[in-house]
């Protein structure tokens, strides 16, 4: 009985891990959106067509986001000049908290505010953080739910392969 429960647990873990790694959006056209950014201007996703775009949904109350953001910023600084864009979408109700965290972490990529959670709904954000990779044609290619140390290597590999296409 005990072995059966352990096996069941392992199967559940494998299934949930598989479901987290893939998403219904993968292979679909990335839903377009426009949001106000930390610099005050409005940014629209479709205007980045031709670039490999990473959309990272984050919140100030999310610990892994805090861990992940400086690493994403490194990727952004490294690949920005070869057609890589990164949009950080903050889902906090209060954007001032997000601004404080951005200042504290010193990240340079554009941060957008989705206080009404409209874009989060479009991208079926059910965990924090969620990282979506979009190819030059505007198709969602990879969706990552959550963050664990080492994920950045996966991002790096995927960004490089998308840039090569």
């Amino acid at each position: 009985m005990r072995i059966k429960n352990v096996l069941l647990g392992i199967v559940c873990c494998v299934i949930s891990a598989a479901s987290l790694a893939s998403s219904g959006l993968t292979g679909q056209a990335a839903p377009d959106f426009a949001l106000k950014s930390s610099s005050g201007e409005n940014l629209r996703l479709s205007e980045y067509r031709g670039d490999v775009v990473m959309v990272n949904f984050w919140a100030t109350w999310c610990g892994p986001c805090r861990q992940e953001m400086p690493l994403l910023d490194e990727l952004y600084s490294r690949y920005q000049r070869v057609g890589f864009s990164l949009l950080g979408v903050n889902i906090d109700d209060d954007s001032s908290k997000a601004m404080d965290m951005v200042d504290e972490l010193g990240v340079s990529f554009p941060v957008l505010f989705d206080a009404h959670k409209e874009v989060s709904k479009l991208y079926e954000v059910g965990a924090m953080p969620v990282t979506v990779l979009i190819d030059r044609e505007g198709t969602v290619r990879y969706v990552h739910h959550g963050y664990k140390p080492g994920y950045e290597d996966k991002y790096l590999e995927q960004i490089r392969s998308l840039l090569r296409e």
């Binding site: 426009a34 949001l35 106000k36 201007e41 409005n42 940014l43 629209r44």
Partner: protein, 204 residues
């Protein structure tokens, strides 16, 4: 007499030699051409095969192009059909945004309400505003409305004169008759007052 006979014999022999030489050359040539025949035939066959393959590829390419065109045509027809079904011409209302000059107003967003219900909330990027200032027209919203009176409220948000936050509304009650209706929300500059002006026009 003897000399003449000898000369005649000599000429005769010469003629025979010439004839033999000619016949020999002809035979040799024929044999050479007969020797070359297999290679020439093979080369000709290869040429013919290459030409046939080229033709085949050309025709395949033409087929692909024709198929692509058909797909595009089908896509266009489907799009038009979808629009006709979703927005029948009789109940169709479309709202367009245009901008004239825009020196006193930097557009940020437009919120559109019809009969008190929010139907569109659009954020404009720098590029989009630039396109509007260059004479572009943006179709903000398309809807189906019943015939009769309807109230339209458009709220424009942006930066006004001296880069101050600016928020202005414009209201219009319009009558939706039979047939499609097009309305234009125009942002213009009122130079005398150094203020922007928001006008809703009904395209007749």
């Amino acid at each position: 007499m003897w000399r003449v006979t000898v000369t005649r014999h000599l000429l005769h022999s010469l003629a025979i030699c010439m004839t033999l030489l000619f016949v020999g050359t002809t035979i040799a040539q024929e044999s050479v051409s007969a020797d070359q025949d297999p290679t020439t035939a093979a080369a000709l066959e290869a040429d013919a095969a290459a030409a046939a393959s080229r033709d085949k590829f050309r025709s395949l390419d033409q087929d692909v192009q024709a198929l692509k065109k058909e797909v595009l045509d089908l896509n266009r027809d489907l799009f038009l059909l979808e629009e006709e079904l979703l927005f029948p011409a009789n109940s169709q209302v479309a709202f367009f945004i245009s901008m004239d000059v825009g020196e006193y107003f930097a557009l940020d967003s437009i919120n559109l309400k019809i009969d008190g219900k929010e139907v569109a909330n659009y954020l404009y990027t720098e590029r989009e505003v630039d396109a509007l200032m260059r004479g572009g027209v943006h179709r903000l919203h398309m809807a189906n409305l019943k015939t009769g009176d309807h109230e339209l409220i458009a709220v424009f948000t942006g930066k006004g004169p001296n880069a101050r936050d600016y928020r202005r509304g414009a209201t219009l009650t319009f009558d939706k008759g039979i047939g499609a209706k097009y309305m234009e929300l125009e942002i213009t500059d009122r130079v005398k007052k150094q203020q922007p002006e928001f006008v809703i026009k009904d395209w007749e």
